[in-house]
Amino acid sequence: MSADAARSVPIEEPRAVSLSRGVKWRVFFRSFLLQASWNPQGMQNLGLAYALFPALEELYPDPQRRAIALRRHLTFFNTHPYLAAAMLGGVLYHEQRIALGLEGPEPVTNFKAALMGPLAALGDGFFWLSLKPATGALCAGLVPVLHAWAAILFIGLYNAVHLPLRVRFYRLGLRLGDKVVDALAQQQLPRRGARLRALGASSAGALAAWLAIVFGRNETGSWAPALAAGCLVVGALSYWLVARRATYYALLYLAALLAAATGAFL
């Protein structure tokens, strides 16, 4: 075979040991307990080992190899609990290759070490600091209209984003291994997060105004509208004080005391 002909032969990626579908789903569902024994030393290490165990049992029939595999996942691990799905998928991708003898244990260790920090930052920014406040403020703002359905809407809205993304991250990790980073970058989570944060702030402002108006209407007495407006002024003042690092609890008690005293004696 000439050199050119040899170059044109497609080089196949070595095929990995394939985990059964059932085990992949078991690992995914067990990842819901990732933080069950969160501890200051290994952080999520117990949860990771717990989630991976069914896969390790299938990949390593030899107890000694299985023990070595488990031991390498009992080291420090901490990332965002949702984005951990992508890492779990990636770890399984590597473990399949290790079981086949296609690579040593270093790539999986490096994969975890390299990704857990950035993925934690990505998950914190989108889920904890954007999606959660936005859905929380929006649904709290809808309580006067939807009543208890607002709480159900909160769960529905949040999990309509959270659960499909979690499944998607896991499958991407399983399929792409290290390349999961590029796929996650395409999700554009930071840009979407910025829009959600604006929604959260707007909902909070609207709700405060709505509650003050409702209370002002329901109370009899000529002073009621003034007291309702006073509540809004207290809110605006609180925003200014919070920006100057005033204690939240102190502000809440102070506002309650002020409103209670005014409401009682007017």
């Binding site: 488990l70 909160f154 999990n159 402002g205 405060a208 209370f215 209670a260 005014t262």
Partner: protein, 236 residues
């Protein structure tokens, strides 16, 4: 009978929410709006749970579990306040803003106490980790991974007991709440929208949005203008 079943239900719900928040799934069932509404539903007083949860949802909107930092325990504050409010309503017969305010003022500090308990329970998890590593070293792999599950029960038990305790205190306080002078009750009722305004300000700040004040003020202005327009339309 009603008292004991309500206290028990509130406790079980409080324990479950603590586990959901910390250890299992984290699908936001443990957020104040949902957790407190659940307490209200179980104690036959949906309104108290819902309106206590609303204020606490806003109050704790910006808190997040970032890295190893522990935030205030919003779930414990929500289940505790809602259980106390629902129990007071059970004793007095009416769910009022005065009762919601009283419950929040009495038990919101549980958010702070909950963080302290979370930190204390980490010592137990650290022991579990040491036991898991020791088991793995001895080849007892199933025992090693099982340690992860044991980390949940202290959270369930401690937060269930605290929530049940709040419900019990609420029931015990109910006769005293009925004796409150009208002026005090009216004052406490006005404390509710004031606290909601403060919580909304904290929420707007905690939303981490750029120009959060502008968004919050614009939305508030829109609601006020909309309400004024609606009033003028009905009463020209």
């Amino acid at each position: 009978m009603v008292l004991s079943s309500h206290v028990a239900l509130a406790g079980i719900w409080g324990g479950l929410m603590a586990v959901e928040r910390r250890a299992f799934l984290q699908a936001m069932f443990s957020r104040p709006l949902v957790a407190a509404t659940g307490v209200g539903l179980l104690m036959d007083d949906l309104s108290s749970g819902l309106y206590v949860g609303l204020v606490l949802e806003l109050f704790y909107l910006g808190s997040a579990n970032l890295g190893a930092a522990l935030p205030e325990n919003d779930t414990l504050a929500a289940t505790g306040c809602a259980a106390a409010a629902a129990a007071m309503t059970g004793g007095t017969g009416a769910s009022t803003p005065a009762i919601w305010s009283l419950a929040i003022l009495m038990f919101i500090w549980l958010g702070h106490a909950g963080r302290f308990i979370d930190r204390a329970l980490e010592r137990y998890s650290t022991r579990l980790e040491a036991r898991a590593i020791e088991s793995a070293d001895h080849g007892e792999l199933e025992r090693a991974v099982r340690q992860n599950v044991w980390g949940m029960w202290p959270h369930f038990v401690s937060f269930a007991l605290i929530t049940a305790g709040c419900a019990l205190v609420g029931f015990l306080c109910a006769p005293w709440v009925e004796l409150l002078p009208l002026r005090v009750a009216r004052g406490l009722a006005w404390a509710y929208p004031a606290m909601a305004s403060v919580a909304a300000a904290i929420a707007a700040r905690g939303s981490h949005a750029r120009h959060a004040a502008l968004f919050a003020l614009s939305a508030a202005a829109l609601v006020i203008l909309g309400s004024a327009a609606a009033t003028l339309r009905w009463h020209p």
